[in-house]
Subunit: 141 residues, 3 copies
């Protein structure tokens, strides 16, 4: 999956549901997992301007122009050059740490995700445009 | 379960423990899950004024009187009428997104939840009074 | 494990990976769990000054010198004496509640944790120096 970057939120529900069906597990738990350090999985309602408000809130709690020691390291090791300060991602790491980066577990019954009526599985990109992947592991019988 | 609304916190530990016992699983993991988009599951110590402090903190981080684009949609679609601005729940959605809405996984051994001495399983209502339900899915043997 | 206190972060990845190997599970999910109410499990990149920035952010969002009702209770019950206000841990409880205290679930395949290239399993101490433990429960086959 190629993310567009800049705090974008991707709805991956249909692919997750398909992976669960393919697993053949009827009764169990699906663990949806991001192996990246500046992404996050969330289960919520993805529309109606709410996500924009959340992005605003997140930017307010974890401002980009704050001082992040991580960015110094990025510059020192030439991981980013001094001109590319907009690529410094100390704030992305802090956002991921605040929200929790790892997976979400969702109950599975009769081979289907037990999501609520308004719930969708979302993949949050907290960094700039990147190639990303996510995993689903289903346990049960 | 009928919640009383207004950032109320419900202790559901005993019912969860009973559901785990009924599942017959001796050794595994219990996934406690909220299918709602403005609720949250947390495992912590539910007393001593601490929860009030947490509610204050949450209200400060995600103020009700902030502008939430979601609320405009609510008004436009007559999901809420203009007089009922106190029912606008953009802030509830943002709180749920910040805290994480989905389930918590708890180890199960000898048929019992492996909670710490002070830990209880809590259901957080981030919205107004509602009918709510929660699920427990137990995997293992 | 003895933590050094004061918002210290411990990398427990190697011990978790060993516990997974010892479980004999090839294909499943590992639930890493803290049974304490002022600790937290996180999966992220643990270096490059980033963790210091996160600790600064957390201290800003949940200040120690804020009023926490929990601390009054601590003093009243002589759980802490009035001179030991630096041991009052209302803020630690609030941090744990904000971050989520319970476990993280990580997919296991071929008997190994499916962590991303930069991901490590971290145990966050949000309180003062304490004896702590963590659990790993692995389900699967």
């Amino acid at each position: 999956m190629r993310t567009t970057g800049g705090l974008r939120i991707h709805d991956i529900t249909d692919s997750v549901a398909e992976a669960v069906r393919e697993s053949g597990v009827r009764d169990g738990v699906a663990c949806v997992y991001s192996p990246h350090t500046t992404c996050c999985i969330r289960i919520t309602e993805p529309h109606n301007g709410f996500l924009d408000s959340f992005v605003d809130l997140l930017r307010e709690l974890v401002p980009h122009d704050h001082y992040y020691a991580h960015d110094d390291w990025d510059k020192r090791t030439e991981n980013i050059c001094p001109e590319d300060v907009e690529f410094a991602n100390g704030h992305s790491h802090c956002m991921a740490m605040l929200l929790g980066t790892a997976g979400e577990s969702i109950p599975v019954r009769d081979g289907e995700l037990l999501l609520g009526e308004w719930q969708r599985v979302l993949f949050l990109e907290l960094d700039r445009e990147r190639d990303r992947r996510w995993l689903v592991q289903v346990v049960g019988s």
